[in-house]
């Protein structure tokens, strides 16, 4: 170890600095190319900042179209709740209605109402299809059949049939998950 001292003598100041040197403990036949003496600073501190993005950060617009590969919904569509809503809307709307040509507008109005009401349940990533058929109660037979190609774990449907003295109504709501 060597000590190097410098003394500056002047009229008013006296400065003293000390540098410590470390010799490497290498065997004599191994000689590194670098200097064998490595200065060790007395105080050493380093700061390291890691930038964390806040949770729930909104993605920029162009990334909004990215699909998150969540093939199963977090909250599965509740057919019971939807059935209650459909029943309430249809019963209230058709209670005093007799079959006439105006049933064309009523069927459109009903399908829109049902869709809007079920939308308010706020099921994330569910697409809704509401089908309404209103027919006259006469000597006729109506046969209605549905089939779908979809994912049974996430997609579902609910139906409600209403009848009064002069008409019948069939309401079917399909809920399809956006995969």
């Amino acid at each position: 170890m060597q000590k190097e001292e410098k003394q500056l003598k002047g009229p008013q100041e006296k400065m003293k600095s000390t540098i410590r040197w470390k010799t490497s403990k290498e065997e004599p036949q191994r000689k590194s190319r670098t200097s064998s003496q490595i200065p060790i600073p007395r105080r050493c501190s380093s700061t390291w900042m890691m930038k964390k993005e806040p949770r729930g950060q909104k993605l920029p617009d162009q990334d909004e179209k990215l699909i998150h590969y969540q093939t199963i919904p977090e909250r599965r569509f509740s057919t019971d709740r939807a059935h209650e809503i459909i029943k309430h809307i249809v019963d209230e709307r058709l209670e005093t209605v007799e079959y006439s040509c105006s049933c064309s507008g009523i069927s459109k109005e009903l399908s829109d109402c049902i869709k809007t009401a079920v939308k308010k349940l706020l099921y994330d990533r569910y697409k809704l299809v509401c089908y309404v058929a209103i027919g006259q109660l006469k000597d006729s037979v109506v046969n209605c059949s549905s089939r779908a190609i979809w994912s049974p774990t996430s997609d579902t449907f609910t139906e409600y049939i209403y009848k009064n003295r002069s008409l019948f109504a069939v309401c079917i709501l399909f809920a399809v998950y956006k995969e």
């Binding site: 697409k127 809704l128 299809v129 006259q136 006729s140 059949s145 549905s146 779908a148």
Partner: protein, 112 residues
């Protein structure tokens, strides 16, 4: 036969198959109470099979209503909450001497 479709391209493609399927199953036959269940099921299945054969990335819902012609009226309507750029529907109204047949197909896109 009357057709109504939404979603432009999607709906147009659907309309092609529906009419052919209906004609193939109930074209030229009279209404029969015993066979109507079988007819509606066949129309729906046949339509679905033809659609799936296209190999497009859609989920399909097919709805069929068959009604005997007896002077009674029938009104159908549908309302959809979906992406209008990728999804579409088609409704075909077919009739012959003794019955009406209304078939609706809804196609919901799957993101790939």
């Amino acid at each position: 036969m009357e057709e109504y479709h939404s979603g432009d391209e999607v709906g147009l493609c659907l309309c092609v198959f529906i009419g052919q399927c209906i004609e193939g199953i109930v074209g030229g036959v009279d209404y029969s109470q015993n066979k109507v269940n079988q007819w509606t099921a066949s129309i729906v299945e046949h339509t679905l099979t033809q659609l799936v054969k296209q190999g497009k990335p859609f989920k399909y819902i097919v709805n069929c209503a068959v009604m005997q012609k007896s002077g009674a009226g029938l009104h159908t309507a549908n309302s959809c909450y979906w992406d209008t750029t990728t999804d579409g529907s088609c409704t075909v109204r077919w009739e012959n001497r003794t019955m009406y047949c209304v078939v609706s197909v809804f196609a919901v896109a799957i993101a790939l």
